[in-house]
């Protein structure tokens, strides 16, 4: 029986009609046709983020993709952090899309406290300019999409190989 491939959940957040907050959705759109081994894509850009909690079970890693608000960074500058190092960052999605007061950060915290979060959790984001409803994503953010895709696929590949190696050792 072939081994079940470990997967990393890539959760894309944001509001596609709110300027640079569409960043997560654009990364999801770029990832979708690539069929990256070990990548499970969760596109939450058309609704509130409560679906994240449902999708975490059995994942070996989680990558949150979103626009972020960070002082001192240029628009489109990439951020790639361990989630636990993100204190002080305002994830743009929280300002533009909230379903019953249950934000991205809240879901991550809740998942962490419930023991649902996989060990590696990263935020891959890009520094935003504006999330004004009805505006287009800025050119600098759009240029950041391929860099984010490359970063995400690198993490997914690394964690897949690590998980596969661990499984092989146990046998």
């Amino acid at each position: 029986m072939p081994p079940i491939e470990a997967s990393t959940l890539v959760a894309a957040f944001g509001h596609r009609w709110s300027g640079d907050d569409a960043f997560g959705g654009l990364v999801a759109d770029a990832l979708r046709p690539r069929s990256v081994p070990g990548l499970a894509l969760l596109d939450l850009t058309e609704c509130g983020p409560t679906g994240l909690l449902d999708a975490l079970e059995g994942q070996v890693g989680l990558i949150v993709v979103d626009a972020v608000l960070v002082e001192g960074l240029d628009t489109g500058e990439l951020i790639d952090l361990d989630w636990r190092e993100t204190t002080g960052l305002a994830i743009a999605h929280e300002k533009t899309c909230s379903t019953h007061g249950f934000s991205v950060a809240r879901q991550l915290e809740l998942a962490d406290q419930l023991g649902l979060l996989p060990a590696p959790v990263r935020l891959v984001g890009a520094s935003l300019q504006s999330t004004r409803l009805g505006t287009s994503v800025s050119p600098a953010m759009r240029r950041a999409v391929p860099r984010a895709v490359a970063r995400v696929t690198r993490w997914v590949d690394r964690w897949r190989k690590e998980a596969t190696a661990v499984t092989a050792e146990r046998r």
Binding site: G51, D54, H100, E109, L110, Q113, L114
Partner: protein, 457 residues
């Protein structure tokens, strides 16, 4: 989301005022304002200030093809899209003259997808948004430390609800399965059986949780003589069908709904208020449904009613909307049990959609969204283009009665700090599980206190 509360006072003796402000209501969607005017310790006025911009769905549906309406209206709400799709489909089926031709198996599938929505919506609200209020905790995060297993169970139940919606709708959020006349596609029997096997143990889990909530929580007392409004079908607990009835004598066909109620613009709200014509504001939602239809609950839920009533020492009908938490619990047991039966008994229908030719017509119909009656009316042109649309969401129907609740409740908060008073008001508002995607946002609390000229200092 900031949640600051502040106060100010001015004047002495007869002219003393006190203003309490709460910047934002936690654990409901969006922002809004609440102002309480206190005179001699009594609340003379409660105003829920709604400043969410209008969303213009009724306007931009005009000129669209009728087939687009279910998917467009589903985007009014990310939590209750099935309700909007169901109401729009039924209303348009009336406009097209095929309402009575929709096959019973297709009606059963509409009940099934509705069960999924009730389960995920009720569970999310009960355990992650409302339960912290009863336990004196700020959020579901704090709940994990004290009630971790219950939170985990709740998340698993919510996921089951999403799975039911996805089975019939293609995906859990903004499902795309339902259409005018039936469904675009229906599942295969093995998929239904597999899901039934997951649902079965959840029935007992939810029953236990409901009894736990009845036994262990303290419910604030606020009993009022509400007019409860709900669908009342003859042989089933209301979801998709039924006459519209109240506990105060209203009993009308669905098509008479707009003639029976009146929606009003109020200066402080971009959401309309509603009342039974010539009478009173009314309440829709789980408490209304339960009080008017408890005998039609699934037997697995019905058997809990006397146990729950005994634990809270209050027989039905319940007139305290703090007990809406338990009404949701009972409805979730009902939805799980009903969905198990429907999944287990499922056979693919002989046809997925009723064939018809678009025509000019008018149709109005409401279904029971998790928060109450969600009513739609459409007028179509001969080619099926939408000529006009009217949508009455549940949350806006409850806004006036929320204000009335606050007027009655506020005097009990006089001696409390602004922080605590604000939290208590938020708790009351969360009884209604207001859905801001459908309506508007909450909550900034202000209070003014003054004495009347005739009162003694």
């Amino acid at each position: 989301m900031s949640n600051s509360r502040s106060s100010s006072s001015a004047g002495e003796g007869a002219g003393k005022t006190r203003t309490l402000k709460v910047a934002a209501l936690a654990r409901v969607e969006g922002e809004g304002g609440l102002h309480l005017e206190m005179v001699d310790g009594q609340c003379r006025a409660a105003r829920v200030d709604i400043y969410e911009p209008p969303r213009f769905y009724e306007a931009f549906l005009r000129g669209r093809d009728f087939r687009e309406v279910p998917d467009i209206t589903a985007r009014i709400c990310g939590i209750c899209p099935v309700a909007y799709q169901a109401s729009s489909c039924h209303a348009l089926e009336k406009a097209m003259g095929i309402f009575n031709q929709v096959d019973p198996p297709l009606r059963a599938l509409r009940n099934l997808i509705y069960c999924g929505e009730w389960i995920e919506s009720h569970v999310l609200h009960m355990f992650l948004l409302h339960l912290p209020d009863f336990l004196g905790q700020e959020s579901a995060l704090a709940l994990v430390a004290t009630h971790g297993p219950a939170v985990k169970t709740a998340l698993r139940l919510k996921k089951l609800g999403n799975a039911i919606v996805a089975l019939l709708g293609g995906r859990a959020v903004h499902p795309v399965g339902m259409c005018v006349g039936g469904f675009h596609a229906v599942p295969e029997k093995p998929a239904c059986q597999a899901l039934a096997d997951q649902v079965k143990p959840a029935i007992d889990e939810m029953a236990e949780l409901t009894l736990f909530l009845a036994e262990k929580l303290t419910y604030p007392r606020l009993e009022r003589d509400y007019e409860f409004l709900a669908l009342c079908p003859p042989n089933e607990y209301p979801m998709n069908l039924g006459r519209i009835r109240s506990n105060k004598g209203l009993d009308v066909d669905q098509e008479e709904f707009l003639q029976s109620i009146e929606e009003q613009h109020v200066a402080h709200s971009t959401a309309l208020h509603a009342e039974v014509k010539g009478r009173s504001h009314y309440l829709v939602g789980p408490l209304a449904r339960l009080n008017l239809n408890s005998d039609k609950l699934h037997p697995r839920a019905l058997e809990l009613v006397p146990k729950v009533s005994r634990l809270i020492d209050t027989p039905l009908p319940w007139r305290n909307n703090f007990l809406s938490l338990l009404a949701r619990g009972l409805e979730t047991v009902h939805a799980l049990a009903l969905s198990y039966d429907l999944l287990r008994e499922y056979r693919p229908p002989s046809r997925t959609v009723v064939p018809f030719t678009p025509r000019a017509g008018v149709g109005g119909h409401g279904t029971e969204a998790p928060r109450g009656i969600c009513w739609h009316q459409y007028r179509t042109e001969a080619d099926g283009t939408i000529a006009s649309a009217r949508i009455v969401p549940p949350t806006s129907q409850n806004l006036a009665v929320i204000e009335e609740d606050l007027i009655e409740y506020a005097p009990s908060l006089n001696d409390l700090s602004d922080e605590v008073a604000g939290l208590r008001c938020e708790h009351l508002i969360r009884n209604y599980d207001p859905c801001i995607s459908c309506s508007v946002h909450f909550l900034k609390l202000t209070r003014t206190f003054r004495r009347s000229e005739n009162s003694r200092p």
